[in-house]
Structures are given as structure tokens and as C-alpha cells.
Symmetry: C2
Amino acid sequence: MAEQVEHVPFEPVPQEVLTGFLAALEPNLNSNATDKTRIGLDSCLLPTRFDNLSIIQTVDFFYPLIDDPYLMGKITCANVLSDLYATGVIEVDKLQMVLSISTELSEQERDVVIPLVIKGFKDNAKSVGVTATVTSAAINPWCMMGGIATSVCSEKEYINPLNAQVGDALILTKPLGTHMACTVNRWMENPERWKKISQVVNEIEVKDTYNKAVASMMRLNRKAAELMHKYGAHGATDVTGFGLLGHAKNLVEFQTNNVKFSIHTLPIVKYMLAVSEVTGNKQKLVSGLAPETSGGLLICLPEGVAEDYCSEIYKSEGCKAWIIGKVEEGNKTAEISKDVLIVEV
Amino acid sequence: MAEQVEHVPFEPVPQEVLTGFLAALEPNLNSNATDKTRIGLDSCLLPTRFDNLSIIQTVDFFYPLIDDPYLMGKITCANVLSDLYATGVIEVDKLQMVLSISTELSEQERDVVIPLVIKGFKDNAKSVGVTATVTSAAINPWCMMGGIATSVCSEKEYINPLNAQVGDALILTKPLGTHMACTVNRWMENPERWKKISQVVNEIEVKDTYNKAVASMMRLNRKAAELMHKYGAHGATDVTGFGLLGHAKNLVEFQTNNVKFSIHTLPIVKYMLAVSEVTGNKQKLVSGLAPETSGGLLICLPEGVAEDYCSEIYKSEGCKAWIIGKVEEGNKTAEISKDVLIVEV
């Protein structure tokens, strides 16, 4: 899998390009909130032919970003389920893994790597009682992996993501910079890059950070979703390819109320700030535009319960969540304060 | 899109490879019929948490095989829905198109091509009252397209594909060789290939056959599915990448009864037999192994109603269906008779 990693395009198709295509084809798409979520967010609720039951489905594909196939399978599973969890839906009726096997893999590589990727995916699903099925899409130059999560649910299982209120706190349930931690881990094999980076971190620190990042990406956002119900969340999104700010903008744009998201704190994986400084990527990281894989949920929560939410996540999972901003009156924009506080994690 | 077409891998990952991976991971998977369909066939029925309701989902991805983006979108839609229709389920609750945009397309090409592909997909879905949504997977070296069809249905909407009876007729609802007709159309631009082919067909004949093949691939298998209920079908599969015989073998292998499928007739698109002879592909075509895209349904039907089924398809759609074989006592194999009758269509 190492070959693929080098080709990984870190940017998906720009949001505005696809949105533009769709808007041109469907001029009436913005007529109601349910339709809005078709474009703006990664999942949508559709009524079925049966009373009070809706179907919600999320689809996600990407390229492997670490070399360990088993762990990559686990990350893929977490990433696929994350879109569903962002809507508060936690019961998964069908989880289908989809794999495109790389044409660059030898038969022997394929026979070792692919079963491990599948096993990782299935094991992570099994940890929350879901039996995943697997389908092979086609062979492809790059190894592509992803899946489809589907739930048939009643409306009360779903948290409409468009109800942010002025005064809400913004919560983030995983630190930023995990994708970068994987990239830096790869750069250890590149003498030129390593020369720069080793000014600020040593090998042990890079490996340690990489391991923490992988653990974070494998972690399911299920508990975070469950607690969204308990604490009355007003909407959420997961943070992936467009970075924290990209997904925040996406979420705020479709809100019912005239609000803006003001982000005052950025929890970032340790050493990544220093590394980004010496590699010239600092601006991207501190402006919230660094892509994440299988990132946390960004949640709008009533201010009074925000700390309780974070401490309950910590108690049950041993992982921190952070209050990173607030919902203010505004014009459906999202921004990061000039004097943003960086918290190293 | 012309560039992609040249790379098209005509063979998906071999069936036995994926089946092998899955069998190794899931030793108990063959314990009941519903589970069997997870491996052997392209769709499966899963219970939901709600009384008597199941979820069925089919996933399909492939590469464009014709240059016209709008028609390719229509073919993609027909191909995605076909797996669902093969189970007799005709109400689609969610249809999601998934696109990987090629890195080889310029921005200008992309802005022309992709909206047309999407429009073709959506228009074909709309023709049966389904509103398709679109998601972009990621950029990819090759343009990859496909989708996910999901239905929440009651059990009676689903036709268990495993009930073939000795004495049943085998029906095929589209002719074979459509994929080859597209390849031959491309070969007109290749002087060396054309020199061979033009011994047996002229340009007008190639174009005409190509147009008929495209029309056949765009055609939905919905009516065929609807009539499966009316005439009491005992099971079906759609015919795609593994060719008629590949899919027949797949279907027969999981039957409840000890049966074999004996195929005595092959309806093949006009000129393709002659072309396959001069290009050395005849063996593949007449042995039922030539891949198809968006092919017909192969249906096990009580013998007494087989002709009525075919004539009702013809009356309502103006397209022929054929009785191509019969279900006999046997050891779960499928074979094509030595004295198979080739019907040019």
C-alpha cells in the first residue's frame, strides 16, 4: 500500500464545483430543509412508503493514508459511520464496505492486504454490534475504500442539523491534525523533509503522535452521537476532508436561524503546530483548513450543558472533547478568531 | 472521456478471489439462504428493527464504456437499478449516484462532461418516478461511476432468487453482445482493427448496432421485474460483468433444489458473431463469457407461462425476451449446449 499513499490527493473535488453542478440541474433544490441537506451535508433523511419511517444513508470513499491495512480498515469503518452519527442516528441497519483493489498490487500483496483491510473494517463495526458486508467495486489504479451506512429510523432518532441557536456552544470531539500526523510519519522516510522536521521533533515523538492519531481516527463517533440526544444538540457535522472551517461553513450555511459560528479554540495534536511551522503548512492548520480523516463531530449544544457533555465523553471514553467556539448572531458564516487559542493535545 | 475508455478493464476482480476472502473471514456465512445471497449475488435482504420490513440495497460501480456522457449516465442508472430489479423489488426509496471524477479531465472537460453524466442518470431515474441524489467520491485516475439503490420493503415485494424448480424455463430479457458492440464501435478509429472487422461489417452497420446496444443498456429492467411477480418467477439475476454463463453459474450454485441450468439458445446482437469470428473472440461470446454492461435479467419461470411472459414484455416495451434454456435435475451447474442455437437480433 505504500505506493498508493504517495499519490493520495489530499483535496477532494472542491465543494463549490459539485454544488454548482447540482444547483444548475436542480434549481428548486433549496426549497426546504430536508432537501438542503442533500447538497450541504453528507447525509439526508428520506421518507419511506411506511408510516413514520425514514431512511438515512451516508456514502464515503477515500484512499488509504496509512500503511497498516488492518488499522486502515478500522479507520475506514469509523469514517463511514461518522456521517451517520453526525445526525444522531446510532442504529445501523446496513453497513456495506466497498473496495476498489489497486491494479498496482501483485496477487500476493492483494491476498495479504485486502483480507486485513476487510477484517479491520468488520471488527470495528462488530464492536458496536453491526455486521458489515463487503463488495468489490472494480479494480482501479489506486486502492480506494469506503462504504455505505444505512439506517431505517423513526424521526425521533434523527437530530435535524439545522437548529443552531444564538448562545449555543460549539463542541469538537476529536483533536485536529491527525491527518497531518500521518503525513509527517511518512516524511521520516524522506531525508530532505526529515531534515527540516527533525529540528522540532524526534523519531519517537513522531511515532508516538502517529499512534495517537491512528487511535483517534479509528475511534467511532457513536458515543458522541448518543450524548447529542441526552444533552439536546441543535445540529452537528463531522469533520473530514474540508477541514474544521470548511465543514463549519457548510453547516452554518444551511441553518434556519441567522447565526454565525465563532471559533476561539483549536485543539491540535501535539507537535503538529511546530512541524507545520517548519514545513510551511502552519497557515493551513491554524486557519482550520487542514483536511482531517475520520475527525470528530462538531456539535451545536446549549451552552449550559456543554461542559457536562465534554466530561461525560471523557468519563465514558477516556478521550477529551473541547468547547471550541460559540454560536452568535450573524450572517451564516464561520470564522476563527484572530487570537485563537491553540491547545496542544 | 475517450481516454478512459481505452483503459477500461473488461474483467472485474475475479469472483472466486473475493469469495475466497470473505469465506476465510466468515466461515459460518453459508448457514442460511439469506446469508448466501450476501456472497453469491449482488444484493441481500436484511431485516430492520421494524415489523415485517426489510432493507435491500445494491451497489455497483464501473467505468464508462461509451463516449456520450448523457447516455453513459442513463446506462449507469439502468445498471445500478438492475440488481434491485433482479430481486423483484421495484419501489426504490433511495437512489444515490456516486461519481469519481478523473484527474485526466481538464476543468473545462469536467464542467461539460460531469453535469451531462449526472443529468442522464437522473433523467433515467425520473422516468420511473425516482429522484436520484448525487455524491462525488473523490478524484481518481479513471472516471468511475455507479451508485447505490436502496429499498425498504415488505417481504412480499421480494422474490427469493433461490427457488428454481426442475422444469422451469430460463428467460433472458436483453440480447448478449452489447458490450462488444461498444468495443467494435471504438475499433473503427483503429485502422489495424478496422481492416479486420470491415471484412464482415461496414460503418453503417457498426453504428446501427452500436445505437441499438446503447438503447438496450439504457433500458431499465423494471417491467421485467414487475412481470416476475405476475408470472410467479422462482428466481433471477441480472447479467453483467461475468457474462451470461458466469451469472448463471452464480445463481444456480445457491439454489435450494438440486438443479442445473441448461442453456440452448443465445440471442446475440446482429453482426457480433461475425465480428467476434474475425477478431478471435468468438469462443468467448458463444460460451457465454463475454462481459455485458446493464444486461438483461436471467429468470427462472414456470415453463407454462414462459411464452406469455415474453410476449407481454414485447407488447409493453416493444423489446423481445427469449426462452434460452431450461432448469433440469442436476448438480448446481450451468452449461451451454454444444449445439446451441444462435439467434441474431
